[in-house]
Amino acid sequence: MNYVIIGNSVAAVGAIRGIRGVDEKGNITVISRERHIAYGRPLISYLLGGLITEKRMAYLPEEFYEKNRVNLLLDAEVVGVDSARKQVKLAAGDSIGFDKLLVATGGDPFVPPIEGLAGKERIFTFTTWDDAEKLKAIAADVERVVVIGGGLIGLKAAEGLHLLGKKITIVELADRILSAAFDRPAGRVVAKKMKANGIDVITEDTVVRIEGDGARISGVTLKSGDYIPCDTVVAAIGVRPAAGFLKGSKVDVNRGIVVNNSMETSVKGIYAAGDVAEASDFFSGQKNPMPIWPDAYIQGDVAGTAMAGGEKAYVGGLAMNSIELFKVSTISMGITNPVEPKEYEIVTYQDLENYQYRKIVLQDNRLVGAVLVGQVDRAGIFSGLIREKVDVTPFKEHLLAPDFGFIHLTKEIRNTLFAPYGKVA
């Protein structure tokens, strides 16, 4: 059996382990357009900010590829997939055959067509190790940076650059930063902390023109008419599934590559996992791209297991993020900001002065979402309650307690989890 995996990040790693859990013998080939072995992609802001060295970028123990007998093709780009002949075509011209194929190519940063952008030198995206290296290489010469987009990527780029002593302005179209994961109060807590650290956060506005002569940037003009002087721009609007090379392959691509609960695409034998895939959502069952690190691992594991003939069903993507910005810890998970709040029961605790905030979102006495700012210890207990759809009625009044724990749950649950005769025994 020949397994080919396109992409070499966390979903690919989950898939390699998934395959090897079922099939010890088959050939695994991993093709990556990047020149690095698997690295902790979210660590690029730590690398940029000088918090870690290159040595710590490696995501896997050194012997991983050898131990799992993976044939690794780095710096090789796939330009096409021939589903009928079961081959992938490489940019260099050669083709590689497969029995089972996994597409785990992640996302490509999206740079909007802004006036004045063409020909400017210092426009950066921030999703790869090489992006961080490029920014680092010119950092000594950078003074003021405008970051377009106040999502996770934008904020992490801002944090890395701030650590290098740069003056940063974040411009976000929504009414708050991290609008995908946070509600208003949580966004405000973090924005307040960023402002206290000298980072300007402008919301409900966007960059309409990049100013400057030739390749040099002198500033940006916003929709509101404001002008912000800067010499460097980081575009962090978002990513799009990196599935362009599937054109003509008959693989169904919507906003992402559409997959079923085994991560198989519309073409038999071809699978997709991670940020490039559009899999079902934990709550609604609807298909959504879910660019979440742990989820990419799980999807990779499900795909790899299925490719090797094993059985493991995907239970649906559950969004969760742990983000520490300027020493304020935040963890959010599930439905944090329901569109129809009336259908949910929402309880909160706020102490904004001390950067503390807790929000619990319930639906029919089941926990469906949580936001924790500041005190985030044991947040995973909430993710367990969400995944297991536990009825919280007996301990509802304790959910906001800072020391919320298993003691507040029922004895039955405690015994299931920890007793010598429980489910793990």
């Binding site: 902790g40 594991d301 993710s383 724990g405």
Partner: protein
């Protein structure tokens, strides 16, 4: 593999499992030195919870899951499961992002805020049975073979 289990009804909330854990992971491996004289006292990797004024108590700790949520959430690869099944954290590699804290449904990963490193049970690699189990005076903690999650 062998895992640590808790018999809630036998727990008297004495916290000696935590003392045993801290001592085992201290420099001197001596309780008095660890608690009074060592500059950096380790965090306990097991957590005793008490309720109803101490009427209910139990010690909770890592399950060393076969499909560990902490490992899947770890962005730096610091968390790995070794061949014996022990889920361990490489403190050097950890960047303190708390993704494992977010993911672990057992609440079994602690935040060491001084070192900015995650902290979890390693099943005491230098001992025959874990220090918490040996420290429990009531045999409320059991170290025995268990099946997968």
């Amino acid at each position: 593999m062998k895992r640590i289990y808790t018999i809630e009804d036998a727990c008297i909330g004495c916290h000696l499992c935590e003392v045993g854990c801290i001592t085992e992971h201290s420099q001197s491996k001596d309780p008095v030195r660890a608690f009074l004289h060592e500059q950096v006292r380790p965090l306990s990797r097991c957590t005793v919870e008490e309720g109803d004024g101490g009427v209910i108590s139990l010690s909770t700790t890592c399950r060393h899951c076969d499909e560990p949520d902490c490992l899947r959430a770890c962005i730096s690869g610091a968390i790995q499961k070794n061949d014996a099944g022990v889920v361990r954290i490489d403190t050097e590699q950890c960047v303190g992002c708390w993704s494992c804290v977010m993911a672990c449904p057992y609440g079994a990963v602690q935040r060491n805020l001084t070192k900015k490193k995650a902290n979890k049970c390693d099943l005491c690699p230098d001992r025959k049975s874990p220090a918490c189990v040996d420290a429990c005076p009531n045999r409320a903690l059991v170290y025995k073979e268990g099946s997968q999650k």
